[in-house]
């Protein structure tokens, strides 16, 4: 799953038209990874050559401890400022006062489906994104297929996640996100809204499926206008 996240972020940045005043992508990117868990994505983002810094946050102390422990295995990641873990929820993270201290890429992977009130949760994220920066998330759609996958396959048959991890009713659909951002001033202008459906293929791992955002796991991204 993790390499696909980078593929998607890359695609968002390189295939979306940019305004004439800002022709080039920034040389160095600042990342904020919300709900970083064990830090798989945060570590990989911190290793990229065009990354300035990664701030990774999670309110659960146990997972953050695991992430901190794993980071010590890579001398590159302990370079000062490259990867910072903070034990906080996004609601508790102060919004930077300077635009330059905001983030070029704000990520929210496999978190939205665990949140009770997605709208206010998303609201609290938006101020952290730089103008021209992206909010990138992955989650699972609320459809009959995902119901079967979540309630029967994943938990009982495949045993991928422990029972009770997911509550199907909390899932948010891609169309709902599209509509919500569509109504919002200053987001997703000039077609800067992207999605990509993915499916788990046993023995092959996660693969992209065109149109999959309509019925299963998907990535969604929206750019804050410049």
């Amino acid at each position: 799953m993790n390499p696909l996240r980078h593929t998607f972020i890359n695609r968002c940045q390189t295939t979306t038209p940019r305004p004439k005043e800002y022709p080039a992508l920034p040389d160095k990117l600042r990342y904020l990874d919300i709900g970083c868990g064990g830090g798989i994505f945060a570590e990989s983002a911190a290793r990229l050559p065009n990354t300035l810094s990664v701030t990774a946050i999670d309110p659960t102390p146990e997972v953050l401890k695991i992430a901190e422990g794993h980071r010590r295995r890579d001398p590159k990641l302990i370079e000062e400022g490259r990867l910072t873990y903070l034990n906080t929820s996004i609601e508790g993270l102060p919004v930077p006062s300077q635009e330059t201290e905001k983030y070029d890429i704000v990520t929210l992977f496999e978190v939205l489906e665990h949140v009770n009130a997605p709208r206010p949760f998303l609201e609290s994220i938006l101020p952290h994104v730089k103008p021209g920066g992206w909010l990138v998330l992955s989650t699972i759609a609320r459809t009959w297929t995902s119901w079967v996958v979540t309630n029967v396959m994943a938990e009982d048959v495949l045993g991928i996640v422990p029972k009770g991890t997911h509550e199907w009713r909390k899932y948010v659909n891609e169309q709902e996100l599209r509509d919500w951002f569509g109504k919002r001033e200053g987001w997703g202008g000039v077609g800067a809204v992207k999605a990509m459906g993915v499916v788990y293929v046993p023995a092959l791992g996660w693969k992209e499926v065109p149109g999959g955002e309509g019925w299963g796991n998907y990535f969604f991204a929206v750019r804050k206008d410049f």
């Binding site: 993790n2 390499p3 980078h6 593929t7 890359n10 040389d27 570590e43 990989s44 983002a45 911190a46 290793r47 990229l48 050559p49 065009n50 990354t51 422990g69 010590r72 295995r73 890579d74 001398p75 302990i78 370079e79 000062e80 400022g81």
Partner: protein, 466 residues
């Protein structure tokens, strides 16, 4: 700023965090008075054709050029270089047949233009297309070294042997317990995010990783020599032909080099190899001529003679009808000091990757030389590992992790295994039957011809795979 610039800058003017890191390590090591290991993204042990091709590929790629890389080679890389204006009268006895696929890869990494072209001999079958290029191994390694010094950015430790490889240690701030620490004969130590074993058939890296390598010895030696023929070949200097004859003891092959030169690879029993090596030069020459001309029974007798082969071969040749134009032109001389032999074996490592370890070239597989594929397989490995590492860098993976390396193993293992199996079968097929007394147009390929569908296998490997 491009990643390469940034890394160089970092190394020249360490930023504060890097310094802090140094100091911490130093403190830990002061009691044992050893210097801390220097941290590398890729440490490659072995500067043969496979290792040099890998490093050149990594330095040549924009994506991987930000990695900090080291090369450790036991021999003096500088001393082994081919002199710039080396005479075309003499050739090294270690030559290889490079497939077009290998040449294409060398072109892609910007190395081929550095090769000494007058020393390379393309050869054809009956059609005008080139099947492969005969080239001295030192020409390949010199070519790669020239390209590498043009690219710069590799810390080269040569001549320096790897003394030991062990796992690193854990401190509260840094846990190197999964990192190989390479101790050099000079006392210096290197920590490797990815340790590449390009260290040949007896790979110390493979031993460190605990990867078993299975196979068997053929109980055959490959006798090599640099020869002079009576002419440039039946097709003239622009249409060169490689010959191979299968004998019950193994194939004898004559590979064309520029001018009247040629390279011999004669697979035979260790006893006969010893006889061949002990002969006076003119008798050795007679034996090679006999190898392409006389019957199996004649050859058997000739190997029992301590000397005098010249007269004996001349006499027996009169009684043997031969079509001169279907076999190589007669050998007239052997270059002094070039008769040598190597034991032949088939080996295949159980896997090419482990935690923070990857094997390329002969460290991963050793093949019978009858189809001239060994070195080419190593070139294919190097190219595949470069693209696997590129993929990992692009997605921020730890390039030493088993997950990141998986693609390399699955891409190369099956392909190499198929090639090993086919060459082994060819060897077996012809060791039980007595070989046809005909010259062969190209190394290995005529024998492949006889096996029908397998020819397609070799031709496709030669052109695109390998």
């Amino acid at each position: 700023m491009p990643p390469r610039l940034r890394l160089i800058a970092l190394r020249q003017f360490p930023t504060r965090p890097a310094l802090q890191f140094r100091i911490q390590l130093q403190r830990r090591f002061t009691s044992s008075s050893a210097a801390p290991p220097e941290i590398y993204d890729v440490a490659c042990v072995g500067g043969g054709p496979a290792g040099l091709s890998l490093l050149t590929g990594l330095r040549n790629s924009k994506i991987t050029s930000g990695l900090k890389v080291a090369l450790i080679e036991g021999q003096d890389l500088h001393k082994n270089r081919l002199p710039k204006h080396a005479s075309l009268d003499g050739f090294s006895n270690r030559c290889s047949s490079l497939t077009p696929a290998s040449v294409k890869n060398l072109e892609e990494i910007g190395a081929w233009s550095h090769a000494s072209r007058p020393r390379i001999q393309p050869y054809q079958e009956m059609q005008p297309t080139t099947i492969a290029y005969m080239i001295e191994n030192t020409n390949i390694t010199t070519t790669l070294l020239s390209r590498l010094s043009e690219l710069g950015g590799v810390d080269i430790f040569s001549p320096q042997k790897v003394d030991s490889i062990s796992l690193g240690t854990e401190t509260p701030s840094l846990d190197l317990s999964s990192w190989p620490i390479i101790a050099l004969s000079s006392g210096k130590t290197l920590a490797a995010r990815l340790l590449v074993g390009a260290d040949g058939a007896n790979s110390p890296v493979r031993t460190f990783a605990g990867i078993p390598s299975r196979g068997f010895d053929y109980n055959r030696h490959g006798v090599v020599a640099s020869l002079k023929l009576s002419g440039p070949g039946w097709g003239g200097p622009d249409h060169k032909i490689a010959y191979q004859r299968f004998l019950p003891t193994g194939p004898i092959a004559m590979l064309p080099l520029p001018g009247n030169s040629a390279s011999l690879v004669w697979s035979t029993t260790p006893e006969r190899a010893a006889v061949l090596k002990s002969l006076p030069e003119h008798d050795f020459v007679a034996m090679v001529n006999a190898g392409f001309r006389l019957s199996v029974t004649d050859l058997e007798h000739l190997h029992t003679m301590p000397s005098g082969q010249v007269e004996e071969v001349a006499w027996r040749e009169k009684a043997t009808p031969i079509d001169a134009r279907s076999i190589p032109q007669p050998v007239t001389a052997v270059q002094s000091g070039t008769v040598a032999s190597f034991p032949l074996k088939l080996r295949h490592a159980d896997t090419y990757t482990g935690e923070r370890v990857a094997l390329v070239g002969d460290a991963a597989h050793t093949i019978h030389p009858l189809a001239g594929q060994g070195l080419n397989q190593g070139q294919g490995d190097a190219a595949a590992l470069v693209s696997t590492i590129e993929q990992a860098v692009l997605t921020g993976q730890d390039i030493g992790s088993v997950l990141a390396l998986e693609g390399y193993n699955s891409e190369r293992y099956a392909a190499n295994n198929a090639m090993l199996g086919v060459c082994d079968k060819l060897h077996r097929l012809y060791s039980v039957e007595s070989g046809p007394v005909v010259g062969l147009r190209s190394w290995g390929l005529k024998a492949v011809d006889a096996m029908g569908p397998l020819k397609g296998f070799f031709m496709s490997r030669a052109a695109g795979g390998a």
